[in-house]
Symmetry: C2
Subunit: 360 residues, 2 copies
């Protein structure tokens, strides 16, 4: 079978040119006689790979010099604990916005370590929108404010940056990072699992303002202390070297394609194509408020849920996989990260039109 | 350059046939139209890969049914905290054997969570041997007994299994796992970073007897609770899928080569070749007590440390890299894991003979 269109929410489709380059140099990197997987993380070849990946990421995102870039493991799920363990800094509570499944998980874990003040929630409408800033009940004494700018499951994206005055803003950017430019200086800490827009699963990216480091709560494992990794350039122990190498290839490709502004343009075009199809259909429906429609994860339902299986089967027949929606939303979900070509979205839209003609 | 002999302690050399197979299927796994890196961890392709990896590992190591196999992240360094957080089970202290740098790190981290009773130490002789069982001062009330059967830095291996009566035995097997058969049923918990005999960095293997689960200390992050992963077949969150896939290829290759008994035979032949060269030399020296000479990591010193740089340069000239010893031992260290071919050891021995002729 030739290459398919993979709409998985993560691990997700990767740029074809990155995969082909990785394949070509898998067994022998740049003629050095070994695979990147085999390199000592203390050797000059691998040290160069990781340093270049960090430099390229800093350039792509415009990361200020007073922010550390950490290449960690354990996914966003580990960050749900690491954030309070590191950022409470003697305070007793933290503010959390609740916009969906991932917000809820972050809140649940934070409650192990502090009082959680939920500043606003969209649970009243099954997480189909994001509460406006005016509705947030911020606590000026909170240790930090945590939010999820893009809910991977609900497909709810927040396109504005919350104002939190002097309270550090923390964002789980797992499914939005690198999809469009952001102003890193507005954040205290950004984290993201790699398996959407960055690279393979097993790598977690953390970008943290350096003044927030060094005040973990008692009992924090050494590996859960950001300072451990910040002071050792993510080499306190062996980092996930191969995943970092692949991420580095992705970063270099994004730079070559014009950086995050070019990504945003392409992503808006792809999302527009799909949302237009949804809006002009009387068979398919987007459950998300128009101002919060995600550029990355687009859930949609069919008029008759009994047709879901047939739609998925037809999609497979046209080389499209992983379109089944999450059980909490139902229907379908198309995750269209940076690496999804517009041809994939066009193929999906074509199927939707044909399917509606048949069943509408 | 053609393939070199890489003596790195980890990440380390991988089997060439595994690398070549991984290369061939990197961009399109078994004709499914995507890379393993792109597969949803909930999709049937990837679920099959992980299930097969676990089944092959269970067969290779003879893992009893009442043991869980967990594919985790964070390295042995994370286990240093996870072990006490999970296994103290209401007790106040744990027993640790101190045989070198990795034992020391495990002990330091455990002290965050409990009283550590060092049952015996070989620090008196710069960790060049392992204390005999008779010298261990075991505490019958300890929550568990922790030891490091192979010290990667010191090259000290313990070939017998400690007797701890009813107290669970915990082993950091990072640099010895899969090198020879062991009786898993003698252990409460075994852990190992993957980047020596298993696969790429970023994967940590834990094998744990199921009755030890479910009694974490207060404040344990959800991701540091073994039960979280045991109850979700290592899919509570996204596992390091590509690293698990490569590990699965390694397991399959080990089975095809005759399993761990065959590995032990090959590893003993390789180690013997190098130790014989050391014992018959008046220029090179092994600092390790004969009964504790590691099959995997072989440190050795030159008569004159001023020759170290020349030796490393000559080694590079013969396509051998990563032979420089750890600063705590000095001299050289040859890590000769399963994937190091005997030709690599022979090439090293040949260099040693020529070098001694020139400088001895």
């Amino acid at each position: 079978m030739e290459r398919i269109f993979n709409f998985s929410a993560g691990p997700a489709t990767l740029p074809q040119e990155v995969l082909e380059l990785a394949r070509d140099e898998l067994a022998n990197w740049h003629g050095c006689g070994m695979s990147v997987m085999e390199m000592s993380h203390r050797g000059k070849e691998y040290m160069g790979i990781q340093a270049e990946a960090e430099a390229d990421l800093r350039e792509l995102m415009g990361i200020p010099a007073n922010y550390k870039v950490l290449f960690l493991q354990g996914g966003a799920s580990s960050q749900f604990a690491m954030v309070p363990m590191n950022l409470l800094r003697g305070k007793a509570s933290a503010d959390y916005l609740n916009t969906g499944e991932w917000s809820k998980k972050a809140i649940k874990e934070a409650k192990k370590y502090c009082t959680v003040n939920v500043v606003a929630s969209s649970e009243d409408k099954n997480f189909s929108y994001a509460p406006a800033q005016e509705a947030w009940k911020l606590d000026p004494n909170a240790a930090y404010v945590h939010y999820t700018p893009n809910e991977t499951i609900g497909g709810v994206e927040i396109f504005w940056t919350p104002q939190t005055r002097d309270v550090p803003l923390v964002a789980d950017m797992s499914s939005t990072i690198l999809s469009r430019p952001i102003d890193v200086s507005k954040f205290g800490l950004i984290y993201a699992g790699a398996q959407k827009n960055i690279g393979p699963a097993g790598l977690t990216l953390v970008i943290v303002r350096d003044d927030l480091l060094g005040q973990t709560i008692s009992g924090t494992p050494t590996m859960f202390d950001y300072k451990t990794h910040a002071e050792n350039e993510s080499m306190y122990n062996t980092p996930p070297t191969y995943a970092i190498y692949i991420a580095g290839l992705v970063f270099k490709m994004l730079k070559a394609k014009g950086g995050l502004a070019a990504m945003e343009k392409a992503n808006r075009a792809k999302a527009q194509l799909l949302y237009d199809a949804l809006d002009t259909s009387s068979f398919f429906n987007s459950p998300v408020a128009p101002e919060n429609r995600s550029l990355m994860n687009i859930p949609f339902t069919l008029k008759d849920a009994a047709c879901d299986d047939e739609f998925l089967k037809d999609a497979k027949g046209r080389s499209m996989v992983q379109l089944k929606g999450h059980r909490s939303v139902g229907g379908m979900r198309a995750s269209i990260y940076n690496a999804m070509p517009i041809e994939g979205v066009q193929t999906l839209v074509n199927l939707m039109k044909d399917f509606e003609k048949k069943h509408g």
